[in-house]
C-alpha cells in the first residue's frame, strides 16, 4: 500500500481542486499496480498532455469532445469530466503530430491541422511549454544529476538516466499528465539507488567510434539485455551528445533499456564496481565483428529494393550539430526527382538552423527541415513511398513496420547520397 503525506492526502481529498484530486486517484492506482510504497516529488514533467486525434475527441463527444473532456477522461482516466487548471509542475509537451507550417507537404488535412492548432492553444493556455520534441534536453529542459523527473519518450528517458544521471522511469501519457497537476510520481524503479545498478555486462570488442556504430551497438545491447541495465566496457570511444542520443534510442527500441552504464563514460559508472554496485553479475554479451554484421543485417532485413524514394533524418530529433553536417553534405547537390528528403528537429533547434542558413541550404537542395514530429509519430511519409533510407536504428525499427514499407539503415552520408541519387549504396565496411 502506498503511504500518503499530509499534502498528498489533502490533494486526494480535493483541497487543490477536482483535477488534482483525479490526478492523485490515478497516481495511487498506478503506484499500487507497481507495488510502490510512496511518491517522490517532481517539478520536471514531460508528456503529451491532452493532445488527441479527432477520433478520440469524437469518442468523448457526450462529454463535450474538447480538451477538457480528453484531459479528464483519457489523460486522468477519470469517470467524470473536471475543469483542468494551469499545470502546477514545470511541464513540457513532447513531440506532436505535424509540422506547424509544412503540414500540407506532410499530407495533413485542413481538419487535422485545425485540430492540431486547437490542441496547441490549449496546451499553451494550461501553462505547458510547447517544446514539441523528443529531445527536450536540446530544447531548453536539461535536468541535473539526481533530479527526479516524470518523463515520457523512451529515448529522452534513457538519455536523462544514463548520460545526465537524472532519475525517471519511462512514464506514460496518463502518469505524466497526472504528475503535471499533482507534482508526484511513484517512488519506484529509477528513482531509487538500488534499481540503477548494472545487471549484465556487454563487452565491446570492435571499435565503436561513430554515430553509425553507436547506433548499431545500441540496437545490439537492447536486443541482448531487453529491459535490464547493461554495463558496457571495451572499445567504445568518441562519446558525444549525439552518439549517446542515438545509442540510447536504439537500445530503448530493440529492448526496453531505460538506463545504461558505460564504464569511464557515464556519470554513475566511474568503474565497473560502481556500475554494478559490487562485483559483476548477470550475463556477459560480446559485441564482436560477427555480432556487428548480424545487427547490420537485421536493420537492413525489411525488403530487398535499393531504389530509395524517401530519406528521413532526425530520429531522435537532430541536434544543430547534425543539421550542420547534413547541410554540409548536401550543399550544392539536389534531391533526386524520384526521392524526397525530410529532416526533423525541434522548433528551438530550427531557430538556430534558420539563423545559420542550414534551413535554406536544405530547401535549395529540395529537402525540408521540419519540426515537432517525425514520420513514425505523424505516420506521414511522402506519397507513394515504398523504400525509406534512415540513419537511425530506432526509426528503422519502427517506420517500416508502421507504414508497411521497406527500410534501409546506413550512415548519414549514405542516406544523403541515396536522397540525391535515388539509389542505395550503403555497405558495411
Amino acid at each position: 500500500m502506498v503511504t500518503l503525506t499530509d499534502p498528498e492526502k489533502a490533494m486526494l481529498d480535493g483541497a487543490d481542486g477536482a483535477a488534482t484530486q483525479k490526478a492523485m486517484e490515478l497516481l495511487i492506482r498506478y503506484a499500487e499496480a507497481l507495488g510502490a510504497e510512496r511518491f517522490v516529488e517532481t517539478n520536471n514533467v514531460a508528456g503529451v498532455p491532452g493532445s488527441a486525434p479527432a477520433w478520440v475527441k469524437d469518442y468523448y463527444a457526450a462529454d463535450g469532445g474538447d480538451y477538457r473532456a480528453v484531459f479528464s477522461r483519457f489523460d486522468l482516466d477519470s469517470d467524470e469530466v473536471v475543469d483542468v487548471p494551469r499545470m502546477n509542475a514545470f511541464s513540457c509537451h513532447l513531440q506532436g503530430g505535424m509540422d506547424p507550417t509544412l503540414w500540407q507537404e506532410q499530407g495533413m488535412s485542413e481538419d487535422a491541422h485545425a485540430n492540431f492548432q486547437s490542441d496547441e492553444a490549449e496546451v499553451a493556455a494550461h501553462g505547458i511549454q510547447i517544446l514539441k520534441t523528443c529531445t527536450p534536453y536540446l530544447a531548453g529542459n536539461v535536468p541535473v544529476m539526481g533530479e527526479h523527473l516524470a518523463w515520457m519518450e523512451s529515448s529522452a528517458v534513457v538519455f536523462a538516466n544514463s548520460v545526465i544521471g537524472a532519475r525517471t522511469n519511462c512514464e506514460g501519457r496518463e502518469s505524466t499528465s497526472a504528475a503535471m497537476l499533482a507534482k508526484r510520481i511513484p517512488d519506484w524503479g529509477f528513482h531509487t539507488d538500488q534499481f540503477r545498478l548494472g545487471q549484465h555486462h556487454v563487452d565491446v570488442q570492435v571499435p565503436v567510434d561513430s554515430i553509425f556504430e553507436w547506433g548499431m551497438l545500441g540496437y545490439f545491447v537492447g536486443d541482448a539485455v531487453q529491459d535490464t541495465i547493461p554495463v558496457i566496457t571495451g572499445a567504445v570511444s568518441d562519446a558525444s551528445l549525439i552518439r549517446h542520443k542515438h545509442f540510447g534510442a536504439a537500445a530503448a527500441s530493440s529492448g526496453g533499456v531505460e538506463m545504461y552504464h558505460m564504464v569511464g563514460i557515464t556519470p554513475e559508472a566511474r568503474s565497473i564496481e560502481t556500475a554494478f554496485g559490487g562485483a559483476m553479475r548477470g550475463e556477459r554479451f560480446v559485441y564482436d565483428a560477427a555480432a556487428r554484421r548480424r545487427i547490420y543485417e537485421t536493420l537492413n532485413s525489411v525488403g530487398t529494393s535499393e531504389d530509395v524514394d524517401y530519406v528521413m533524418l532526425g530520429c531522435p530529433h537532430y541536434s544543430i550539430e547534425q543539421i550542420a553536417q547534413a547541410a554540409a553534405l548536401i550543399e550544392g547537390r539536389k534531391v533526386h526527382a524520384n526521392c524526397a528528403l525530410w529532416v526533423f528537429t525541434s522548433r528551438a533547434v530550427k531557430a538556430t538552423a534558420d539563423a545559420n542558413g542550414y534551413t535554406q541550404i536544405l530547401r535549395d537542395a529540395g529537402a525540408y527541415l521540419m519540426t515537432d514530429t517525425c514520420s513514425a509519430i505523424s505516420q506521414a511519409v511522402p506519397k507513394g513511398t515504398k523504400v525509406v533510407a534512415l540513419d537511425s536504428a530506432k526509426q528503422v525499427h519502427y517506420l517500416p513496420a508502421m507504414m508497411n514499407i521497406e527500410g534501409l539503415y546506413g550512415t548519414t552520408a549514405e542516406c544523403i547520397d541515396a536522397a540525391c541519387t535515388g539509389k542505395w549504396k550503403g555497405r558495411l565496411s
Partner: protein, 147 residues
C-alpha cells in the same frame, strides 16, 4: 448459480496489479510486446516486424506475456485499444515495468504479476484462463469448462 464442474488444470498465484475478474481464451507471447509502434490500437493487432505474434490480435483474449518494451506510448496505445473495444480481457505478465503497470491501470483489466510459477511455462495459447485480480489467482483449463 451453477457449480464449476471442471477443475482447473492448474492454479497460479501472484500479486494483484489491477483488481477484478475476467476469463477467456489465452494468447501467449514468449516475446515482450511494444505498445506504440508495435500494436495497432484500432484492432489490437501486433505489428512489430519479426514478432512471433505479428498479425494476431489480443482483443478480448487473456494476454500472457513476459512484459512490455519499447516506446513510452505503451499505455496510451493500449488505452486507445480499450476505447476501441480491442483491449485484452485480462493480463498476466512476468516483468514489472512502468509501461505495463500504467497500461493495465488505464485499460482497467484484471492483471496479475509476480507469479509463483512461470505463466509462460504453464499457460498455452488457446487455454481457458480466469484471472481473479483481487484474489491474485490465475486458473487455467485446457478447454472452456462446463458450468
Amino acid at each position: 448459480m451453477s457449480e464449476v464442474i471442471d477443475k482447473p488444470r492448474v492454479v497460479i498465484r501472484g500479486r494483484k496489479v489491477v483488481g477484478g475478474v475476467a476469463e477467456g481464451e489465452a494468447m501467449v507471447s514468449r516475446e515482450t510486446i511494444s505498445g506504440w509502434g508495435g500494436v495497432n490500437p484500432m484492432t489490437g493487432t501486433i505489428i512489430e516486424s519479426r514478432h512471433e505474434l505479428r498479425g494476431q490480435s489480443f482483443a478480448n483474449k487473456v494476454l500472457v506475456f513476459p512484459g512490455a518494451k519499447g516506446s513510452s506510448g505503451w499505455s496510451g496505445i493500449f488505452h486507445m485499444a480499450r476505447l476501441k473495444g480491442m483491449a485484452p480481457l485480462a493480463m498476466v505478465f512476468n516483468i514489472m515495468t512502468t509501461k505495463a503497470a500504467l497500461g493495465a491501470v488505464v485499460m482497467r483489466v484484471p492483471t496479475i504479476t509476480d507469479c509463483d510459477q512461470d505463466p509462460l511455462d504453464v499457460i498455452q495459447t488457446g487455454d481457458w484462463v480466469r484471472v481473479d485480480g483481487d484474489a491474485g489467482t490465475i486458473s487455467v483449463w485446457s478447454t472452456k469448462p462446463d458450468r
